[in-house]
């Protein structure tokens, strides 16, 4: 953006910025590369000191992981739980953010901060009460309890993000559609949603990613029926014996779907995350 409006950046500066961007990107991506590399090593190679960069790749870890656990069952649970919670979360967050952005009351700001404050409590602090509630209503080890929890967990973030996006939409457009006789539902669905679709898409993607990666509740509230991918990964850590390569293979299999989705939708994600940042 700056290059379009301001004077042209000298080539040297551009190169330096590019180099720094690459270094930062590689640094951030290195643990994932290393994990994928370790998944193709033997257990002994995976813990070799000094670390091996050149080795003979093997698929034995993937075969062992597949033989030991039902990967598809875990994936299915992850897909249902993360999509279910995201849909529910958006269904609640969109009207909530709409009301706060376009019809703010005297306590809107306070309510927004209060919503965020629920994220400040360490989850382990409410583990026992939630476990007991889950037991009482017979929802332990079900997808339902995880869908509800993840919805509640992501709701403050979703409301905040959508609120920011909605605030960028000129109020005049909403008022104009009102004058034209549109109902509230029509204002949201026909006028507002098409305008802020990138924002909603990135909020949804973020919610899917957060739900997909969540480990604490999924490990504590699921046993065998509703266990999603974090439980699948956790099952390959061992107190005795070597397990790094198999654990890496399981982790690679667990992050692959979300990495592919993220890759395919990165344009949408970046557009959404920077929506409103540059006018």
């Amino acid at each position: 953006m700056a290059a379009q409006t301001g004077p042209a950046t000298p080539i040297g500066k551009q190169l330096a910025i590019g180099a720094v961007a690459w270094i930062v990107a590689l640094l951030m991506f290195f643990p994932i590369i290393w994990m994928v590399m370790a998944s193709f090593k033997t257990e002994v190679d995976a813990i070799a000191t000094p670390p091996l960069f050149v080795y003979t790749p093997t698929l034995e870890n993937y075969a062992a992981v597949n033989a030991q656990a039902d990967y598809l069952k875990f994936v299915m649970n992850s897909v249902v739980i993360s999509l279910g919670s995201t849909i529910l979360c958006l269904a609640l967050a969109v009207p909530c953010a709409f009301a706060m952005a376009f019809y703010p009351g005297p306590r809107t700001r306070g309510t927004l901060l209060w919503m965020l404050s629920t994220k400040m409590l360490p989850p382990v602090g409410v583990l026992v009460p939630i476990y007991l509630i889950g037991k009482q209503i017979g929802l332990l080890d079900t997808r339902t309890i995880l869908i509800v929890l993840y919805t509640l967990m992501n709701l403050p973030i979703a409301v905040w993000m959508l609120y920011t996006f909605f605030k960028e939409v000129p109020k005049d457009i909403i008022e104009a559609s009102r004058i034209d006789g549109a109902s509230t539902w029509q204002v949201i669905s026909v006028v507002l949603l098409p305008l802020v679709m990138p924002g909603i898409a990135s909020t949804g993607l973020l919610s899917i990613i957060l739900s997909w990666n969540e480990a604490f509740w999924s490990l504590n509230l699921s046993a065998s029926n509703a266990a999603p991918l974090p439980a699948f990964i956790a099952s390959f850590s061992a107190p005795q014996g070597l397990f790094w390569a198999k654990l890496s293979a399981a982790s690679t299999m667990a992050i692959a779907p979300i990495l592919i989705i993220g890759w395919l939708s990165q344009r949408q994600l970046v557009r959404g995350l920077t929506f409103g940042a540059v006018k």
Binding site: K135, S224, N225, S235, P239, G241
Partner: protein
């Protein structure tokens, strides 16, 4: 009349079918087993379809990392959640949880189970006041692994029961850091189940103990200083670099790659070291008993992995059937025939050591057997103690205390604190822990 009898017949038939269906539904249950990812447990998971086929029951497996499992299962038991029917627990938890009334007694698995075939030390480890709260799946002790090729080349002979003085002098002669050959590898990673497992046996060998009979901490006594001085000396002079981050797995890999001349650790590592596909030293390794010091009590540790049934399980009867199968003599035979004799679940049954194929395939078996027989959890130290456990103290507070002391021991090893400071701090921590917990 005829129509009525036909109706009665049909009615009775329907009842019989319904009853049979009910019976099937009652007898075929699905149980949930929470376990860790040890190779022995993975084998159990692989062989369990045999039990499912024989009984018609089904198993749901929940495999978790040891600490996650402990926390997960504790939450479930404490809230009476009833998510699990069978648990894998260590010999540390079994008596504590049994005493708290969290576990179902398992003294009634039937005559065929042959309780007398279990080693007494193994039974003691999972019992409180004579009642068993778990059944042992496999047990391990500790011993000395050494490289017989390096010993021969240096003209050294490892005694059957070495002393720590022997170990120190061998380590000095066998260390060649320029060739990445280290005289001794020992656990250094802090944790009650990591460095403290080994270090506690060294304290026992030096004549020390955690508490006296009235629960007064004894960590400031000369025996602890002697043990810590020796430990720090051994590892800083003859150990591998970064020893304070090496646990069981790391040392096993170091020994298997030929970098350690000696290694004192769990007997359960022997199968891996003897497997030529993992280990460069499979044909160059021999074993001796765990070293002794001025004292020969509690010098080899004892640990078992056990199967237990939480009180919250509503399927205890089926769970007991599974326990009886998974820890039976027949199961041991099944593992031997399916997976190979060296991989048997060791250390729990006397009859395992009467299997000729096993004794032939596992040269380390007699030493393990001897170590398990001689392990005395009730009298682990030279002086009397109020607790049980050789390399741990079987009280709920020990997990946290052991790990804190382990961090001080690691601090002394890395030179972050002096030996005296590490012990003073450990003594203070132990004292406040015991005061807060109401022992003092």
């Amino acid at each position: 009349m005829r129509r009525r009898s036909l109706a009665s017949f049909v009615g009775l038939g329907a009842l019989a079918i319904a009853a049979a269906a009910n019976l099937n539904a009652a007898s075929a249950e699905t149980i949930t087993i929470a376990t860790v990812n040890n190779s022995q447990m993975v084998a159990m998971q692989r062989l369990a379809p045999n039990w499912e086929k024989a009984t018609g029951n089904k198993i749901n497996w929940v495999v978790l990392e040891e600490n996650v499992l402990r926390q997960r299962v504790t939450t479930d038991i404490a809230t009476n959640g009833g998510q699990f029917d069978v648990l894998t627990i260590g010999s540390y938890e079994a008596p504590i949880w049994g005493k708290q009334g969290w576990l179902t007694e398992v003294d009634d698995l039937g005559d065929a189970y042959d309780y007398d075939d279990l080693f007494p030390s193994v039974k003691d480890a999972v019992s409180v006041e004579g009642k068993m709260y778990a059944v042992p799946f496999y047990a391990e002790s500790s011993f000395t692994y050494y490289r017989k090729d390096l010993f021969k080349a240096a003209g050294l002979t490892m005694p059957e029961k070495p002393t720590y003085k022997d170990i120190e002098s061998f380590a000095a002669k066998l260390t060649d850091k320029s060739k990445e050959q280290y005289g001794i590898c020992l656990r250094g990673k802090p944790g009650w189940g990591e460095n403290m497992a080994f270090f506690d046996t060294l304290v026992n060998a030096s004549g020390g103990r955690w508490f006296d009979e009235s629960w007064q901490p004894q960590l400031d006594q000369p025996a602890w200083k002697e043990a810590l001085t020796l430990y720090v000396n051994l590892l800083t002079k003859y150990g591998p670099p970064g020893a304070s981050s090496n646990g069981f797995n790391e040392n096993q890999a170091l020994f298997a790659s030929g970098k350690c001349a000696m290694w004192v650790d769990a007997t359960s590592g022997a199968g891996y070291i003897f497997d030529a596909s993992n280990s460069k030293v499979a044909d160059k390794t021999a074993f001796a008993a765990a070293p002794k010091g001025s004292v020969d009590t509690g010098t080899a540790w004892f640990w078992s992995w056990n199967l237990a049934i939480p009180k919250s399980s509503t399927k205890a009867a089926v769970a007991k059937q599974f326990l009886a199968w998974a820890t039976s003599k027949d199961y041991v035979q099944l593992v031997g025939k399916t997976d190979g004799w060296p991989t048997l679940p060791p250390g729990t049954r006397k009859s395992t050591y009467a299997i000729a194929d096993y004794m032939k395939a596992a040269p380390f078996a007699p030493i393990v057997q001897q170590a398990i027989i001689s392990a005395d959890l009730k009298h682990p130290t030279k002086d009397p103690v109020p607790y049980t456990g050789i390399q741990y103290v079987a009280i709920p507070e020990f997990q946290a205390l052991g790990t804190q002391v382990g961090q001080n021991v690691a601090g002394a090893l890395t030179g972050q604190m002096s030996i005296d400071a590490a012990l003073q701090q450990s003594q203070a921590t132990a004292l406040s822990t015991m005061q807060q917990a109401g022992y003092l």
